[in-house]
Symmetry: C2
Subunit: 210 residues, 2 copies
DNA sequence: ACCTGAACACCGTTCAAGT
DNA sequence: ACCTGAACACCGTTCAAGT
């Protein structure tokens, strides 16, 4: 005899996010999620394969939302400001997100293990805006390398920051500003790639030397 | 009546490293360590406050060793090659270490939580060589910011690589080369700071704009 | 079809009891 | 002084039994 469902996958994912945000990843136990949605722990396995699966679902959701956020930010003033300024804005937005939601951020950009990593599609989506900017900035041939350089730097910087790894004094905000300024300049300085007309350059003067 | 010690802190840390290297962090349980050193799990608490404490001890040891390794590398040809080349060499050495010992690497540069992070002294030691190079490259005023930029980029890149985050195709080795080349050039290009005579520049022309 | 209690195998950790 | 078995509180997960 069928009984009505007392919860849903969305409920469970949302409950998980709430617990993650308020108490951190170790507190995200099946027991805690079950309590919050008003069900016993074993029932969760009707909607979710495992705890890692749940964590991955949360990570994917958050990554997708962050992507939307960055997309909105970039498309809002994409026409008015130039690529270097957009890149800086993007870098600050990601850092602001990490400050606001450190545990969610870590789930996306500092995944504990393979099984909890957000789905590739969500990651790709969250990097979309950056890729458009680096295409404009460094040209189509170098766009991917440039995006990877920026992503690596930003996630590395913020990850170290969240981990409390900057212990030699100095102004951390200033160090972030230093990094994005130098990076933006370095990525734009491809010979033969004017920073605002990348789409019109000759594809045969590829300067990447390595 | 005193009984002779059947193990030691060094034994325990070494056993932990072995387990970490062969089976990963989740396999590094007190039980597994105890089995390996030939003792029962509760006995470990005579030498170690907790599992996290043990993980931290391992992380500290590894960070210190990596520092020694990088120190040797840089001081070996510090006089002969220029700063940009040394920086590139350093970046490749760190990446090689991450490939050889991914779990040990993660313990240092992608710490799971605060309580397992290597001791500050060990981290500082491991970054020493880099700081000397960026001093030469970017000048004393920007040395710390420059070192942070490089560290952030390298740890971010390698962390993403180990997490399998580069999913858009392209040559990853090439992307790493791209990054370090651009970074080295960007950090050296401080107005008024010739890349090989940073120690002799006028400290009052500090160009950092932010 | 969904939910539950009971159970299992595993954690880290404590502690009184042994030598 | 060190080691141990037993125990505790917690995990994630499975499953037969209920409705």
């Amino acid at each position: 005899m069928p009984t009505p469902a007392r919860t849903s996958l969305d409920d469970i994912v949302q409950a998980g996010r709430d617990i993650l945000a308020s108490d951190g990843l170790p507190a995200l136990t099946m027991q805690a999620v079950a309590d919050r949605v008003g069900v016993r722990a074993p029932s969760l396995y009707k909607r979710v394969r495992s705890r890692d699966d749940l964590v991955r679902l949360i990570a994917t959701t958050v990554a997708h939302e962050l992507g939307d956020q960055l997309e909105a930010l970039v498309s809002r003033d994409g026409a008015t400001s130039e690529a270097q300024a957009q890149l800086t804005e993007l870098a600050h937005a990601v850092r602001a997100f990490a400050y606001a939601c450190p545990d969610e951020y870590r789930l996306i950009f500092a995944p504990t293990c393979e099984t909890t990593r957000p789905e590739p599609e969500a990651l790709t989506h969250s990097v979309g805006p950056l890729l458009r900017i680096t295409t404009e900035l460094a040209g189509p041939d170098s766009a991917l390398d440039a995006a990877r350089t920026v992503t690596a730097w930003a996630t590395g910087f913020i990850g170290m920051e969240l981990a409390g790894a900057f212990r030699l004094g100095g102004d951390i905000d200033r160090a972030y500003e230093f990094g994005i300024t130098r990076l933006a300049a370095a990525l734009a300085s491809v010979p033969g790639t004017p920073s605002n007309q990348a789409m019109h350059r000759d594809p045969h003067d590829g300067p990447d030397h390595d």
